[in-house]
């Protein structure tokens, strides 16, 4: 059944992409690896790598993991039902809804994030104003100086991640669900499943591949983001640290941080896909 690309022509078709990958992915990656293991005199060293595992940077890393994980879970909770809903509408409605989901992606994400910071500022002001209307004894926090409730904190960062990356959760799940054979749903109903049973026993297990790719596509950019955290949260995540050292002429340490982050993500992805394969094929 598998059609493997063989023969000179199909190889030729892949040539532009291979060239591109070598020039802009493989060679730069080799540089990252090289820089990560060398000092300013280009001598081999593990100092930079091992510095990643000092409490200071490990703390930042774990905070990044935490926020990215929270954002991914929220995206999943919002995105999964949304994808299910879209896949159950009429074909024409589906087209419109998918375009609507993708619409925000047509704006550059830095501009979007900047705009979001303004929106959060307004919401923050509104909340503070509403709190000020309450009797003082009921308000748990001091309103002067103006508190940051939904901005310049971790909450804002998570909101930003969800805001920017939600479409990447919805679209792969939707794509799997829209291909789901509706007769399987009918078969499950026929065998006694109510709506919830159909979801749990048929739709959910069959949409796992979409969920896994959605998780990947939200978690990976979330954990390595550097703009959202800074602009919305005023906090430093691992991406910001890399950004900082890179622009402050410590390329070797920046490369080391990137390299370790990359390895950890890679390990995570392999683990997750192994789990996904088990779901699909482990029951042979």
């Amino acid at each position: 059944m598998n059609k493997t690309a063989k023969g000179p022509l199909s190889r030729l078709l892949a040539a532009p992409h291979i060239l591109w990958s070598v020039l802009f992915i493989l060679i730069p990656l080799a540089f990252v690896a090289f820089y990560a293991f060398t000092d300013n005199d280009l001598h081999f060293t593990l100092t930079h790598i091992s510095e990643f595992f000092t409490p200071k940077y490990l703390g930042v890393f774990l905070r990044s993991v935490k926020l990215a994980a929270i954002a991914t879970v929220i995206c999943l909770v919002i995105g999964y039902p949304a994808a299910y809903f879209i896949s159950r509408t009429s074909p024409n409605a589906q087209k419109v809804l998918v375009v609507l989901i993708m619409l925000p992606m047509w704006t550059n994400f830095i501009i979007r994030t900047y705009a979001l910071s303004e929106v959060l500022e307004v919401i923050n002001n509104a909340i503070v104003y509403l709190l000020s209307l309450l009797p003082e004894s009921l308000v748990p926090i001091a309103l002067d100086p103006k508190p940051d409730i939904v901005i310049y904190n971790e909450t804002a960062v998570v909101v930003g991640m969800v805001y920017d990356f939600l479409p990447y959760m919805i679209l792969p799940i939707y794509s799997v669900m829209s291909k789901l054979d509706y007769r399987l749903v009918e078969a499950a109903q026929d065998l006694g499943c109510n709506g919830f049973g159909v979801l749990r026993k048929v739709v959910l297990p069959l949409s796992i591949p979409g969920v896994l790719s959605g998780i990947t596509m939200v978690f990976v950019p979330s954990i390595s983001t550097f703009y959202i955290s800074n602009q919305l949260g005023g906090i430093f995540l691992i991406g910001d640290i890399i950004d900082y050292y890179y622009y402050n002429n410590n390329h070797h340490f920046a490369a080391a941080l990137s390299f370790v982050l990359m390895l950890i993500l890679l390990a995570g992805l392999i683990l997750m896909n192994r789990f996904g394969d088990d779901e699909k094929e482990g029951k042979r």
């Binding site: 009918e186 109903q189 297990p205 069959l206 029951k283």
Partner: protein
Amino acid sequence: MNDNVLVRLKGVSKAFDGEPVLRSIDLDIHDKEFVTLLGPSGCGKTTTLRIIGGFVSPDSGDVEFSGQRINDVPAYKRHVNTVFQRYALFPHLNVYENIAFGLKVQKVKKDEIDRRVKEMLELVNLKGFEKRHVGNLSGGQQQRVAIARALINRPKLLLLDEPLGALDLKLRKDMQKELKRIQRETGITFIYVTHDQEEALSMSDTVVVMADGAIQQIGSPTDIYNEPINAFVADFIGESNILDGTMPCDFKAKVAGHVFDCLDSGFAPGEKVDVVIRPEDVDVVDVKNGMLIGTVSGVTFKGDYYEIIVDVQGFKWMLETSDFVAEGQTIGLHIQPDAIHVMKKSEYSGKFGDYSTFSDEMDHLSDVVEEEE
């Protein structure tokens, strides 16, 4: 068969996007009966089945199950199971888990599930396939899993939607016998949807012939074949020569200028009728002994007989004969009284039963298209 009505449809109608698919269907299905809904694609047979299964709700009319109106009972609460067209097995589950699905939903105890799955695997001849992934099974094996998955719930009624459509001819014949055996052994009422008239005739207790969203005829396979009610049924069930005729009086039918003796009566004198004569009921004789005279215009060897097309006064008849006749030969046709079936004129009169445009290849092609639907 007995007089217990298990399913009753009363005036059931359904339209999709304003297009009527069912026009006021009335149908009784008896307990332990093997009923086939037979008709060409688009005749409403699958919609009828889906209404009984609970996947489509009728626009008007009532669906009764064991005397209870079940229009508003959702599919998952009905004591009915379905074998879907192309099986619809769960791809993420193995054979065992597919078959056990319904019992797990009902939270049946594990050892009872084990026992009943084993029983089912034996019934459908799939012992030892428990752990196999359904994607790795052949069409026939998937079919058996689908049947076991439905039957394990011990439904009172099993719905089968063109279950053999995707199988090759040999396998289809085997599965027909097997389905019949399973139906007899389990005593479950089967409603079977197909467009294959041979399948319908060989398996069913009762055949329901449908066309254009309406039931044309209900009867036993022999009734349907021997006493078709109109030109549509006569044409759809087997091959038929359908001619315009008149009934000058009872027991006489005038066709192609010849007055034949027949067994039909009760028509108005001189009433215009459709007359059906089956290809195998016409004897080929010498010209001098012929009631009708015709010229052979086509001969096809069919193995145990020849199928010939005979031009009689411009109308092309199809005949089956075991003796060879050559193309261009002039022959006589002899027809016994019991071979003549007289039908009232209907909306289908004149549409079927002339073999002037007949070709084997065309017939074959249209079969294929139907299976791909």
